[in-house]
Structure formats: C-alpha cells, structure tokens
C-alpha cells in the first residue's frame, strides 16, 4: 500500500500550451506565450479590446491533439530533491537558527495537539476535534517560509496551520475551549480557526470548501498588483487539504482557474492516505495526485511529507514560483496522521504495520537526527526548546481555563458586519438600535 510512493520527489511538468495566442504576442520573438485571457486596461481609450472569437480562431491553426498524447510522458521523475550530505559538507540545507525554528514549530504543533487530546478527554473541549500529529513537517515546512502578509487556508485539521502562521497558542486553545478570548471569540471552534492579523483564512468544516476561498485570496493578490497597481503586492496563498478532497469538484475547478489566470497560489495536498476510514487507494482511480497538476497546466510535485527539509525545499520552489507570478503549483506531500481522523474515531481500520512504518519516520525525530549528525545543535538546546514549549502550552491551557465564557449578548453580534441587516422592526426603528438586540430576544 504505502510502498506505492517512494521517498523521492517526482516532478511533473506541463507541456507549453501552444494553443491560441493573442494578437499582440504574435509579434514577440520569444516562444509562443501561453494564451493570456487577460489584459487589463489602464485607460478606456487606449486599450484594444480582445473581443471576438473570430480573431482568436484565425490565429489558431495548430491542433491541440499533440498535447493530450504526450502529456503522460511529461511526468519526469527526478532523484532526491535534497541529498542528506554527511557532516563535512558545507552546503547543509538549513542553518542552525533555521533548524531551531523548524524544530520549535514542530514541537509546538505536537505538544499542542497532545494537550488537545488530554483536554478533550477531560471534558474541556467538545465536538469534532481533528489532530495533526505526524503531519507537522508539512505545516512547518511550508508556513515558516511565508511572510505575515501571505495567506493560509486550511481544513478542519487546522490547529497547527494556525500555530505555524503565528496565531498565539493561547488564542487557539481558548477558541477550542469556547471562550470569548479565542481567536474567533469562541464562535468558530476547532474547525474554524481564523485570524485577520496573521492572514489565516480558515478553518473549514466541509472538505474542499476552502480551496475556492484560497483561490479568491490569490485573485486579490493579482488584482492588487494589476488593477490597483500596488507594486509590492506579491502575496502568496497556500491552500492545504487532504487526499479525499482531491476527488472533489471544487478542487478541480480551482486548479483550472488558478492555472488559467496564473494565480499566486500553492495547492498543498496532505496525502495521509486515509479519509476517515476510506483508504485513498479505494477512493481514487489514479492515486498519484501530483499527476493531476499537469492536466491543468501546472507542475505537480510529489514529496516525502514526513521530512521537513524535503518539504521545505519544494516549498521554496513553489512559493517562489507563485511570488514571481509564474502561477500555481500542486504539491502532494505523502504524510501520515498518527492518531485517528478525529478524537471520536476508534481508528480500527488502519494496519498496525503501516502505522509503525510511519511512526518510525516521525518528522521531529528525523529533524533531530539530521541536526545532531550535522552538528548543528546539541541535546541541551533541544531540551530547552522542549521545556519552553511545554510551558507555553500549559500557559495556554491556564489562560483558556480562566477566560470567560461568552455572554448571551454576544449571540447575534457578528451575524452581520452591518447590523442594519437585521432590518426594520414594527416600531420603525432598526432592530439593531435596541441595545438588548444581540441577545436574541428581539424577533427577527
């Protein structure tokens, strides 16, 4: 089963799309440009309107069939993205500072999730809680490369994405406890981590729901640069989702749009091989998800998601591509969740041998080993980080415990951004003018 995926990274490149070309690009000497479905007009009078299909049909006299026949051979397997060089080499993948940062972030993710499990069984949090144990390399590998203005969109397994992006652990823990000090005032819960400050755009309960939102955030980035003429707008959006989502229509629709418009987005598939109890191989006709990228005109990459350094190398490339305006990338990270789908999942279907196989490749242990072998850190430095994180998580729990639960007056406060949306009452006044209105006592 799991042996279908090797630990090397595979790249799949799309063929250049020599389809129709716009009137302008005919003049260029460079290789035929991808058909650019846009041209933004800066002023009304000077912009030629790329209107009728009549023009497009005249230009295109190349058959499209060649693309389909050779796309299967466009998959190119390249050997390891990273070589784990022995100690004497001078080109290590990370510096000591970076190594410590990665280690700390992964340990934070792991400790936090472990604490969530404890708190859940003690009755401090409820509902559906999906833990990220084992997948930390993907979150850390990608998100630590982002700036504060870049956006992250996730799924219901979003605690660690929020933490990696910079949301304070106490805010996330409070949210899980359902307190007003939570990042969403207790209104979102485990599956809805949002942070405007850190550009975490959710947290979505239904799979695939967040991918169009991520596409929209990437669209805004492009719009800001090209329409609003903000020159430094090169914000990248990362969309995280799982293997089950890759069979969903929204995934394919967004791959198409992102590639079509060259949106600055990276689609990160956290393929942990299981969608609750449904094995990826039982649900998917072609289980190699990265191959779906070239079908839409973007590179597809498969990477070992248990190794934070490999993920980081691929992420650098993909995020760089997006930032330069070269378009989206589909990255499939082969990873594994050590716990069940959620805290309610008895996790009976997965083969213990499979679990053991991946447990042996725990990303935190792997990073530790790498750093020791390359003499980047010593034991005590890592222990100090472990202790710091433990204290941080404990403090987060204390903070959450002591925070107040939401008052009744909070009930209707955030339903509308503009509370006039609740309408005009029988007395002629807007309902929101009644101070008790948010308690829900007023009729709507």
């Amino acid at each position: 089963m799991a042996s279908a995926f090797s630990a090397t990274a595979k790249f799949a490149q799309p063929l250049p799309l020599n389809t129709t070309s716009s009137a302008r690009s005919q003049d260029k000497l460079s290789p035929p440009a991808l058909f650019d479905p846009f041209r933004t007009s800066s002023s009304a009078a000077t912009s030629p309107f790329l209107g009728s299909t009549r023009q497009l049909l005249c230009k295109s006299n190349r058959p499209l069939s060649h693309r389909r026949s050779s796309s299967s051979s466009a998959v190119v397997a390249i050997s390891d993205v990273k070589q784990k060089k022995p100690k004497s080499s001078s080109n290590l993948l990370i510096t000591k500072e970076e190594g410590l940062e990665l280690y700390e972030d992964m340990v934070l993710g792991r400790s936090f999730e472990d604490m969530c499990a404890q708190m859940y069984y003690r009755g401090k949090m409820f509902g559906f809680v999906h833990l990220y144990n084992g997948q930390e390399a993907v979150s850390t590998g990608f998100i630590k490369l982002l700036t504060k203005d870049d956006s992250v969109v996730s799924t219901y397994r979003d605690h660690v994405h929020a933490l990696s992006k910079g949301v304070p652990a106490r805010a996330v823990m409070s949210e899980l406890f359902g307190k007003t000090t939570g990042c969403c005032r207790g209104q979102g819960g485990s599956m809805h981590m949002f942070s405007k400050e850190h550009n975490v755009l959710g947290g979505f309960a239904f799979i695939g729901e967040g991918i169009p939102v991520a596409t929209g955030a990437a669209f805004t980035s492009k719009y800001k640069r090209e329409v609003l003429k903000e020159p430094n707008s090169d914000h990248v959006t990362l969309a995280f989702f799982g293997d089950g989502t890759c069979n969903n229509g929204q995934f394919f629709e967004c791959l198409n749009m992102a590639a079509l418009w060259k949106l600055p987005i990276v689609f990160v598939v956290e393929n942990n091989l299981w969608a609750i109890g449904m094995s990826h191989l039982r649900a998917t006709s072609d289980p190699q998800i990265y191959k779906k990228g070239p079908a839409f005109g973007m590179p597809g990459v498969h990477v070992d998601g248990m190794d934070v350094l490999k993920v980081r190398e691929v992420a650098k490339e993909a995020i760089g591509r997006a930032r330069r305006g070269e378009g989206p990338t589909l990255v499939e990270c082969e990873t594994y969740r050590f716990r069940g789908h959620s805290l309610a999942d008895p996790d009976e279907l997965r083969d213990p041998a499979e679990k053991a196989h991946y447990a042996a490749r725990d990303p935190i242990s792997q990073l530790k080993t790498y750093m020791f072998e390359n003499k980047l850190v010593n034991e005590s430095e890592l222990k100090a980080i472990d202790k710091k994180i433990d204290e941080l998580v404990e403090e987060a729990v204390e903070f959450a415990d002591e925070s107040p639960v939401p008052d009744r007056s909070q009930l209707l406060e955030n339903v509308f951004a503009d509370p006039k949306g609740f309408g005009i009452g029988p007395d002629g006044r807007y309902r929101c003018e009644d101070p008790k209105f948010t308690q829900g006592t007023a009729q709507v």
Partner: protein, 307 residues
C-alpha cells in the same frame, strides 16, 4: 466601478459577451478583463473565489447567469458567504453581491425558471433584495455594492426590457425598506419582483370595480420591512400576498408568519397568500400560465377578502 476600484464583476460571459442579459455590456471594454472576469463554468468555485476575494479586500459582484445555476454554488453561499463573518468572530467581512436573473420566463423550462429566494431565505448572515423597476434596480444594486454585508440581489428574466426615466444624479435605495407603489385604504397587497406588474394590472381592474388597494413592493425579502408593512396592515386590516415563488416554504409563508406574529390584532380576515403552484415549471405555454399567479386570480382574491 468608477467610484471604487475594488469593485469587480465575476461570472460566466460577463466580460466579452456583456452578460447573458447584457447587464454588464461594455464594462470589460472599459475596465479590463480582470475587473470584469469571464469565469469558466464552475459556479461553486467562482462564487467561493468571490468570497475569498471579498474577505481579502475586494468588493466582488458575482453573477449567476441564471439564478438557478447558483444552486451549484449553494455550498459556498450557505457555508461561507453567510457564515464566515460569524465563525471568524467578526474578523472577516464579506461585502459580496450575488445577483442574477431568475423567475418564470417565457417557456424556458423547469430548470431555467427557478425562484431561489425561498431556498436562500434561511441562511443566516445574508440579506436578500428583489428589484422590480429600473429605478430600484439601480438604487438597490448600488446599495448592495456599498453594503458591508453579503447581499443576494434577485433580478427577473422578463423585466430587463423595462424602460423608465431615472435621475441623472447618484441615488441609492435602502436595502431594508419596502416601497409603497400605490397607497390605498381597503386592502394591503404585498408583492415583489415581476408579480408587482400583475398586481398593478389587477389593481386597474379593482379600481374600476370600486376597490382601493394599497400595493407595497416589499423589495427586501430578508429582512422584511415590518414597519411599512405593519403601518399598512393597521390601516387596511386585510392582507393579500402575491408572489412568484412556490407555495411551500416560500417568502409568502414566512411573511404570513411574521405578520401574524406581530399584527394579528389588526387583521379583520386571515392573510391570503397567492403563490406559484408546487410544480416544476412546465414548458407548454398554457401550463406555464397556470403555474404563476395571473391578474384575474388577484382580482378574485381581493374580492373574496373584502367581503
């Protein structure tokens, strides 16, 4: 779009084609292909994209080529558009406008003749308005674009050809207010969208017969303007609701409940609600006519209520 360069349009054929009912004609020429975005046929995804863009600072207007197509975007409209302001604890606003033509047209068949206002009305966090004249179409559209809330604007396929003189200067209509079309004394007729014209046609007949109906175009389907409606009920004591959506679970059903809850003491007769039949709109012209409320039925209903 001139006033605020964050306003953009997204939808199928809104750009080069000018919109399936030419609502966006000329805009792509003027504003470019990125501001007037021709999307692929992927309602769920591009509506979600509009929501993501709204969350990150733009003010998109998403067009459903026909309102019925927005059923494919129901996931995004219900779960994200309506809910994200709340589940994010108020951090993200979604100033999106979702609009499109709906309603029963001329033999367009069942799927292209849908009225989605009844399906969307329970979604918390959205506002719904229905325009009916060129004047209120422009005013409501502007108000919807400027609103910080997500607004669904229902247009009607058969009303695009209406001509009316409207002011040159800028004006907006209030999203939450109803419109008094014809003041009267005997009975309150509440309606919206195309049925307004059937009601006004019936009103001519009624006036000849000696009745004095008060006609209110409720415009705001969610929330209801209970002030205008209430004042009218207190004056006339009789209510007739004429709507195009289906009988079961429609806007009329909600409105009946709201009026009963708030103004039961002022009613001299039970509220009567004329809605479309609970049937997929048939293709045949005669059957299609029977599906929706016709002026003659309105006249009969008024006569019955006023006895």
């Amino acid at each position: 779009m001139d006033r605020d360069n964050r306003v953009c349009v997204m939808g199928e054929d809104v750009g080069h084609y000018g919109g399936s009912y030419k609502v966006t004609r000329g805009l792509a020429d003027k504003f470019g292909d990125l501001r007037v975005l021709d999307t692929p046929i992927a309602e769920n995804a591009f509506t979600g994209m509009g929501i993501g863009a709204a969350m990150t600072g733009l003010r998109p207007i998403v067009e459903g080529m026909n309102m019925g197509f927005l059923l494919l975007a129901f996931n995004q409209i219900s779960n994200n558009c309506g809910m994200l302001h709340y589940t994010s604890g108020g951090q993200f606003t979604i100033p999106i406008v979702i609009r499109g033509p709906g309603g029963v047209g001329r033999q367009l068949g069942a799927e292209h003749s849908q009225r989605l206002e009844s399906y969307f009305q329970s979604i918390p966090g959205i506002q719904m308005v229905a325009c009916s004249t060129p004047y209120n179409a422009k005013g409501l559209m502007k108000a919807a674009i400027r609103s910080e809330n997500p607004v669904i604007l229902f247009e009607h396929v058969l009303l695009y050809n209406l001509k009316e003189r409207i002011p040159d200067e800028e004006y907006i209509c209030n999203l939450e207010e109803a419109e008094m079309v014809r003041p009267g004394e005997h009975i309150t007729i509440l309606t919206y969208s195309r049925m307004r014209y059937h009601v006004m046609q019936a009103a001519k007949t009624l006036v000849n017969k000696g009745y004095d109906p008060e006609v209110i175009d409720i415009r705001s389907l969610k929330p209801f303007d209970l002030h205008t409606i209430g004042n009218s009920v207190k004056k006339t004591h009789r209510v007739l609701i004429v709507e195009e959506c289906m009988r079961t679970g429609g806007i009329g059903a909600s409105l009946t409940a709201a009026i009963n809850e708030n103004f039961i003491d002022y009613l001299d007769a039970p509220i009567m609600c004329l809605s479309s039949q609970d049937v997929p709109t048939p293709y045949a012209g005669t059957l299609e006519e029977f599906t929706i409320v016709q002026p003659a039925q309105i006249v009969t209903a008024v006569e019955q209520l006023c006895q």
